[in-house]
Amino acid sequence: MIALSHDDLQALWLTLQLAAVTVGVLLIVGTPIAWWLARTRSRFRTVIEAVVALPLVLPPTVLGFYLLITMSPQGMIGAPWLQFTDATLSFSFTALVIASTLYSLPFVVQPLQASFETIGSVPLETASMLHASPIDAFLSVASPLALRGYITAAVLGFAHTLGEFGVVLMVGGSIPGKTKVLSIAIYDHVETLDYAQAHALSGGLLLFSFITLLMVYTINRRLPIRVA
């Protein structure tokens, strides 16, 4: 196998960081949204459901373009961000996280919501009769019962973030060591006809993802937590 260049190693490391942070943020952000969608009877439910799925519909570069506008120093989010942090938001790691989170949100919200809906209110009622507050019941009953949904959400969110390219390229500017992730590195190698390196990186990415997914699924199977 071809040795990875410094540039590629940096990209790999950045990608792993981005995927990990994004999945974390996605699960944290996605959980309350999914929970609300699963349990509310509000008329706005369907509207929010549709809105959550919307980022998916735009081509990534186009979504990236709009995000770029929003996060630029003159943008709706970028301007206040600059004011408070004294740093530009676009072309930063944070921007990548925000963009990836937004783009992968439906992959997290939808499976979680489906899980929460399937669980229904019965286990929560039961927990409430055993002194469990709603939050306690969520943590001790609903979330472990939704494990299958969390696995799906995490896998889709993780894989999608690894492979994401258009949005990240647009918002991050592919700055090595800062915003140049593996997917961009592979793309660059293809563009410069450096196929050997592209194959090696793709193969490595696939292998790594495969092993990660295999581990997740194996652990999932071993866990005694399974509704049915």
Binding site: T126, S128, M129, L130, H131, A132, D136, S140, V141, I225
Partner: protein, 367 residues
């Protein structure tokens, strides 16, 4: 003072619950009524799991719900234990974790029953390390009862908890409920279709029909009603007598009780002489002798009685219930043929044979 009072009016699709109950703050209240009459819905309302636009619940001094004043204590703050009609074990937890769920969430100071005590009484030790989803129906029920009790609730709601258990298990579990009732003074609202559970456990009875609480009161009040027939198993109709402990005969395992100057032998009671005791005499356990009182019979309890009323035919088409007067009402079930042979007429004096083994029920004094 210590009472559980509740009024609900809740309109569900296809069903309306209009309940008004006022129960003593201790003892077991049996909710009795045909399938679909709203028993479960009533329990859910009490627990706060179902909320009605016009509802009020007061338990002891605390108002849990008063929609007019916009008071609503959420279910988990009511310290209610609920044994649901279906076991509802948490599928992601082992049997032990299920049992510990409420136990660990109860501050040690508020626990009134010990882990080992419950595990032993319900014979849960062999199940502790099992997964829940492959337990047998009866095993699941025992775990559900244990889990509710281990959370040391201040009010316990039980929806047909002994269904699906074999006779032996029932005999083992009933003392646990009696202990909650008598020693720990935990009020229990108990839904059942089994009259013998009512007789062994209940101090108060609420009758439901078509979503309404049609009657409520002490066992003897309710049981003297004639229209109960339809709710009850024919084998469980009978009179409730107010008696007093007169003497114990430990050599035979019997206690003599008295009422209106008559005596009855019942299985030995752990109550002091002079204590009040209500007993239930099933009409099927009472037979009638005309002429001279029978001697030399294995039946210990024989009274002179007056025929008050000859009932209408029961559903089995061959027997009738005879209402007798032995200072208080007593019911005897005999065949129509016997009515004819004995030529029974109201006013006639007869002898009532009561088999000593009639089911009895001790009712500790309730304010």
């Amino acid at each position: 003072m210590n009472r559980l009072e509740a009024q609900f009016d809740i309109d569900l699709p296809h069903f309306r619950l209009q309940a008004d109950i006022n129960l003593p703050g201790q003892g077991v209240t049996a909710i009795f009524g045909p399938s679909g009459s709203g028993k479960t819905t009533l329990l859910r309302c009490l627990a706060g799991l179902e909320r009605s636009a016009t509802g009020r619940v007061q338990f002891e001094d605390v108002v849990w719900q008063d929609e007019q004043q916009e008071i609503f204590t959420p279910p988990h703050q009511r310290s209610v234990g609920y044994v649901f009609q279906d076991p509802r074990l948490f599928p992601h937890l082992s049997v032990e974790s299920n049992l510990r769920y409420g136990f660990t969430r109860t501050p040690a100071a508020k626990r009134y029953i010990g882990w080992n005590q419950v595990i032993d009484l319900l014979d849960l030790q062999p199940l502790l390390h099992r997964r829940t989803h492959r337990l047998s129906g009866g095993e699941q029920r025992r775990v559900a009862i244990g889990r509710a009790v281990l959370a040391s609730p201040r009010l316990l709601l039980m929806d047909e908890p002994l269904v699906g258990l074999d006779a032996q298990r029932k005999r083992e579990i009933i003392p646990l409920i009696q202990q909650l009732r008598d020693e720990l003074h935990i009020p229990i609202v108990y839904v059942t279709h089994a009259i013998n559970e009512v007789l062994q456990l209940a101090t108060t009875l609420v009758l439901m029909e078509g979503g309404k609480t049609v009657a409520s009161g002490t066992l003897s009040e309710i049981f003297s009603r004639l229209d109960l027939d339809q709710y009850l198993d024919q084998d469980t109709i009978g009179a409730v007598l107010e008696t007093q402990i007169e003497a114990h005969e430990p050599e035979f395992g019997l206690t003599r009780i008295g009422f209106n100057g008559r005596h009855l032998f019942v299985p030995q009671q752990r109550l002091p002489v002079g204590h009040a005791l209500r007993v239930h005499v099933l009409s099927r356990d009472v037979s009638i002798v005309v002429g001279s009182p029978p001697r030399q019979t294995s039946v210990l309890n024989v009274f002179e009685a007056k025929v008050v009323e000859i009932g209408t035919m029961s559903h089995d088409r061959h027997s009738v219930d005879i209402k007798l007067d032995v200072g208080c009402p007593l019911l005897a079930r005999i065949t129509r043929k016997s009515v004819a042979v004995l030529n029974l007429t109201p006013g006639q004096t007869v002898y009532a044979n009561v088999k000593a083994v009639a089911l009895s029920h001790d009712l500790p004094g309730i304010p």
